[in-house]
């Protein structure tokens, strides 16, 4: 028997095949994986929406707070331009200083 014959004989002997249930198990696990992926995407979406909502609510409350402060200090709800531009702590500090100046000026100080 030469090498070619030997190889052909080997080819005729299948080394076996996967058990019959394996395909079902793979598909079932794939379905479970897809469900987990969908749930994960949904959860990420909800978290992102919640974070955006939190930022929006925060901004809204800040604007309301500024308007009320302006009404108390100057009688007008219009927030001075410089205050609206500033950000974070700097904005709060700047607003207080600006409103105090306007209050002193309106009282003739």
């Amino acid at each position: 028997m030469n090498d070619n014959d030997f190889e052909n004989r080997l080819k005729q002997i299948p080394l076996g095949s996967p058990t019959r249930g394996l395909q079902g198990r793979v598909v079932a696990q794939a379905k479970a994986l897809r469900r987990r992926q969908r749930r994960g995407r949904l959860l990420r979406g909800v978290l992102l929406a919640a974070a955006l909502l939190l930022v929006a609510v925060n901004l809204l409350f800040e604007r309301t707070y500024q308007s009320r402060m302006c009404v108390l200090m100057t009688g007008s709800s219009r927030v001075p331009r410089g205050v609206a531009k500033a950000t974070g702590d700097a904005r709060a500090a700047q607003m207080r200083v600006q409103l105090m100046n306007e209050l002193l000026r309106s009282n003739g100080g």
């Binding site: 004989r9 002997i13 299948p14 058990t19 992926q37």
Partner: protein
């Protein structure tokens, strides 16, 4: 006339979330991959675990799965990498698995299963790098060029490993084929 759907089209369906596409790919490639894995893994159970893992990895890829160009090579490389990690894990665990055929399997496949077992046993007497070349050449029908791409070796190296392996297998199995004549 029913034309077989191309791999690209099936992969696109899988990427779009159609698990029927996974079944189609399984029908097309699982049997061939299993033959390769049985020759390279330390047990049939490991071969099935790796096979399952490779197909699930396709699902895990989501839409990116449609970017795969040569699916057969991709699956074989993925199977090879996973089989190697499993072998490393087994070594780390210090487990020496006995290569025993599962009891139900021989009954299910009849007389041919005995020869299959002898061939598997003989394959596992070869060094792993020769074993995988033989598995890809004989049971996958790949050329040395294709084998070289999957194993990241030159076609000449693949051919030389194959020749050594066949010589050794002839020594081990020669008697088996004489019996059959």
């Amino acid at each position: 006339m029913n034309h077989e759907e191309s791999d690209e089209s099936v992969l696109q369906r899988l990427g779009a979330g159609d698990l029927g596409a996974l079944e189609a790919l399984y029908d097309r490639y699982a049997s061939g991959m299993y033959q390769y894995l049985v020759a390279t893994c330390s047990s049939e159970a490991d071969a099935e675990d790796v096979l399952q893992d490779v197909f699930l990895a396709l699902v895990r890829m989501g839409r990116k799965v449609s970017r795969i160009n040569d699916l057969r090579s991709y699956l074989l490389v993925a199977a090879r990498n996973r089989a190697a990690s499993m072998a490393r894990r087994r070594n780390a665990e210090g487990r020496r698995l006995q290569r025993l055929p599962s009891p139900g399997r021989q009954n299910a496949e009849g007389a041919g299963a005995g020869h299959a077992w002898q061939v598997q046993d003989a394959l596992h007497k070869l060094p792993s790098e020769q074993r995988e070349v033989v598995a890809l050449k004989i049971w996958q029908g790949m050329t040395f060029l294709e084998i070289g791409k999957v194993l990241r070796i030159s076609p000449d190296t693949a051919a030389s490993r194959y020749r050594y392996a066949i010589a050794k297998l002839r020594e081990i199995l020669g008697g088996m084929f004489d019996e059959r004549q």
